[in-house]
Amino acid sequence: MTEKPITDYDEEIKNCSCSYCGNNCDDITYLLKDKKIVGVRHACRLGASKIINDEDQRLLNPMIRNTEGILEETTWTIALDKTAELLSKSTRPILYGWGETSIEAIKQGINLAEITGSVMDNQSTICHGASIQAFQNVGHPVMTLGEVKNRADVIIYMGTNPMDDHPRHLSRYTAFPEGFFRRNGREDRTIITIDPKYTNTAKVSDEWIKFNINEDYTFLNALRSILKGNELKDEEVAGVSREKIYELIEIMKNAEYGALFFGLGLTQTLAKQRNIDILIQLVEDLNQYSKWSMLPMRGFFNVNGFNIAMTSETGYPYGVDFARGYPRYMVGETTTIDLLNRREPDFFMAISADPGVQFPGYSIQHLTNIPTVQIDTHWGPYTELSDIVLPSTRVGVETEGTAYRMDSIPIYMKKVIDKQENCHSDEWILSEIYRRILQIKETNGDN
């Protein structure tokens, strides 16, 4: 069905950013009528729907759960006071989320985590944390997306399906656009999807290489082994024929510029970060023959920005524990799911994230036993678990702020329309909680 173009608008705002995925497309035009967004140009379906149809399920007023278990609207003062009181009383608080907010808010969160001895963690803990562990193990050879656009003649997507999850990835950044050294765009490139599933990305690729699920490491090991000059004796590895493996390695060796993108299809299968370890080593080895770089496909528009801000401020990328007043970091010890599984936390605040959707059931169970606070723009499963709900504003739409794209390019996201009357930015909410905690500490003589 073809939709009619939107003509009923009175203002165009150009070069806005999209606050959906790690692409952070910054060429979006917002169409406004009476200071409300009525249309959007250039965005993908996912981005557009997030920008336009965003008033459904919107959180509009602060709420506190009453004694009967019902969320009841309240004032900001009461909600913020109560949040500060609960947080200041807790001994093992977690401040989780941050993937869809600005760096400015994250920095405010770090201040709060430091004075409350909280654990500060983000979605990496359940997505590309495994990739970060691998970077720490063996290296980090990455590039910006423009390098792929301008140079790449071979692009591999492994364990990721950008056509569905990052819809403009191929069209704006990698496969289709004209690049400086790839004037004919898609025609000048070979696209290979390596995935157990036949995805929409596989559909637009020159080749789909199917391998057996959970046998990623074996498959990558075979590639690396051949590259090092060993002979592959088995007829097939991980369900891929010997001929196909040799063919693939030849394509990779002969690329002028190869780019490899990988996703949760690799980080969440059995070998976890070991898959990424060997993938990085493969890329490192390939650089002896040609030029190769890689990049994790990051999900939320600022999930990478959190890792960057945390390392700038605390030295560690995620799962940072301030219990001793200075940062500590140990995956499995100071990471959210592990803490929840050990039933350690006695306070949980989610900021622009929905643990109700993202976390395993056993971990969520613990959230029902401890005070929970939500700072977010929309009603979601976690709202149902929250004792206090603080409605915030949308970064890049109602609030300005910095975000880092999946390739770590900083984007300054504009404010385009006014915020909902009784909502406040994450930065403001966190600074108010911070201020209140300081007051409580002063009253208690904790300083």
Binding site: F135, Q136, H140, V142, Y257, K291, S293, G315, R324, Y412
Partner: protein, 573 residues
């Protein structure tokens, strides 16, 4: 606020004050001739007083640092220190890759007040400025990377110096940069195809432009604009045995270019971390020092300056926009390699580095750096750096000072601590020069400020910025030449008695007592606005085709650079 720093022993080489007992008078943020009777007297009788430290080449903010911290948690763990009890400065973390606040704390405690971030790709300049906002207590100029930029390569190929001049002027505004940085010109672009260039005349594969053409063109542009700092060059061939010849050619290739008469500096080219560019031989097996030839050239010529890039015996992290060199290091060491190629502009790489006293190569590099300290006769021609964190983290500056002030200490190291390549393959053992406090004030304050073209600092003259460091060293009785004093000296220089910046006391008795926001020092060229506008209209279609962000979202918005320290440069229209 008014202060009188009373009876300190002052070293202010710019004003020919060499160890005189003097009072320094401060009113607000300036050094003044007179203060009122309300001025607070700080008694520092007999203590060492110098202008605030100026570092002209360090890596403290931006994407390379973030990658480094992300992939080396083992380095972060090394420098953990809980927050101070006074509630002013927070925790510290990191050794070679300190967190942003830690960087500010440590530099301030060392008495430094100005630190240059020496390599910022314009596309990620927002990142660098955003991090600077988390570094307290410093003035921070950023140098913008141009040595492999595609627009630059195009203009150089066309020999279109006029458009290149306008381009540089506009791009410094967009990146809020202070000066032109060139790193391995053409080599980092060749790295886009996994290649490098060998020397100054080896052309880049696509544009067919050479390092020589890039360096000479950008030097001409720099002088045409009259930027306060000269071009800041990391020459081709870093870290390769035999590279001293390329370095000599680089020194020589600009000598005929006329310096802009309006500028205050002496040089037209600054060659950075010279130690890494001074090796003879054909491999690491037959490598020897190439420092004597370079020292001889520097001693005989006045058109260039350098900084050392001294290494110390530590485990640190190397990081540079010379990405192919980092891959070479990866092939050599097998340590974990990080690489970041940045579209249209540059590339970069990182690798941990373990410099050991037992390693022949490490000791050779160590000795080569020290040869420059001891061999370059005129201390105004260079500055003390470690290319932090490449040669060593900046907190090793005091250690290096302790070596060059004491022949006894240096000989002790040569005789008892380091591998014999330091004496067998370099001429370090032949020097007996010892630095005075006046020399130290030159190479850590006066000279770097002059080389940077920042005339308001690096000295304690009337009207200068009140950036002052005082150390708990009794100048008359403390013998810096004694081996037994070297550790004490290092400790005293690491923890200043007072660090004063813009008239604010930031450190007292080795503790931070005040935090202020760092200033973003950048260069604003005035007079080319119309030409810049027309250039942008012409190149915008290309820009939007080859970059992945829109031109409109490319520059650094003003709110990232608060507080702003804008240096205006007038050019002829």
């Amino acid at each position: 606020m008014e202060y009188i720093l009373k009876n300190g022993i002052v070293f202010d080489p710019v004003n020919n004050v060499n160890g005189e007992k003097k009072d320094i008078l401060i009113n607000d943020d300036k050094i003044v001739e007179e203060v009122s009777s309300n001025a607070k007297i700080i008694d520092i009788t007999g203590k060492l007083v110098m202008p605030g430290g100026v570092d002209l080449h360090s890596h403290i903010a931006g994407p390379k640092l973030s990658v480094g911290r992300l992939y080396r948690p083992e380095d972060i763990r090394k420098g953990i220190k809980p927050a101070s009890k006074n509630g002013i400065d927070g925790f510290e973390a990191g050794f070679s890759l300190p967190t942003c606040p830690t960087t500010g704390y440590r530099y301030t405690k060392m008495g430094y007040t100005t630190v240059t971030e020496a390599a910022v790709p314009p596309l990620e300049a927002k990142h660098a400025h955003e991090e600077i906002n988390s570094i307290p207590n410093l003035d921070i100029p950023t140098l913008t990377l141009f040595g492999n930029n595609w627009f630059m390569l195009k203009y150089v190929k066309e020999n279109n110096i006029d458009d290149l001049t306008v381009f540089i002027s506009k791009w410094l505004k967009l990146a809020k940069g202070y000066g032109i940085k060139i790193v391995n010109p053409c080599g980092s672009e060749a790295w886009g195809w996994g290649k490098n260039v060998d020397g100054l005349d080896d052309p880049e594969p696509h544009w067919n432009v050479t390092g020589r053409e890039v360096i000479t063109s950008l030097t001409k542009v720099n002088e045409k604009l009259g930027l306060p700092h000269s071009v800041h060059v990391h020459t081709n061939d870093l870290g390769h045995p035999g590279n001293y010849e390329t370095t000599l050619e680089t020194f020589d290739c600009v000598k005929e270019i006329k310096k802009n008469k309006k500028v205050d500096r002496n040089q037209i080219m600054h060659c950075t971390h010279i130690q890494f560019h001074a090796y003879k031989g054909s491999s690491w097996r037959d490598v020897t020092s190439g420092a004597p030839e370079l020292i001889d050239y520097i001693n005989k010529h006045d058109h260039l300056t350098c900084d050392i890039g001294q290494l110390t015996f530590d485990e640190t992290t190397t990081m540079t926009a010379d990405a192919p060199m980092e891959y070479d290091l990866y092939r050599l060491t097998g340590l974990k390699w990080a690489n970041k190629d940045i579209e249209v502009e540059t590339a970069s790489g990182l690798i941990p580095s373990i410099y050991s006293k037992k390693s022949p190569v490490s000791t050779l590099q160590w000795a080569v750096g020290l040869e420059f300290f001891l061999g370059i006769k005129d201390p105004w021609k260079f500055a003390l750096t470690t290319d932090s964190p490449n040669g060593a983290p900046f907190i090793r500056y005091p250690r290096i000072i302790s070596w060059i002030m004491s022949n006894e200490k240096l000989n002790d190291m040569l005789d008892n601590e380091v591998h014999n390549w330091a004496t067998r393959r370099t001429s370090l053992g032949s020097y007996d020069r010892e630095y005075s406090w006046n020399d130290i004030a030159i190479i850590t304050r006066a000279s770097p400020a002059k080389i940077l073209g920042l005339t308001d600092r690096g000295h304690l003259g009337i009207g200068a910025k009140a950036d002052i460091s005082v150390y708990d060293i009794d100048v008359d009785s403390f013998d810096t030449t004694r081996l037994s004093n070297s550790e004490v000296l290092e400790k005293k220089l690491l923890n200043s008695m007072y660090t004063i910046k813009d008239g604010d006391i930031l450190v007292k008795d080795g503790e931070i007592v005040k935090l202020v926001n760092s200033k973003h020092v950048w260069c604003n060229v005035k007079g080319l606005e119309n030409k810049e506008y027309s250039l942008i209209q012409r190149i915008k279609p290309e820009f939007n085709k080859y970059y992945t962000i829109k031109y409109e979202n490319y520059g650094v918005p003003n709110h990232y650079i608060t507080p702003n320290y804008q240096v205006d440069v007038e050019v002829e229209k």
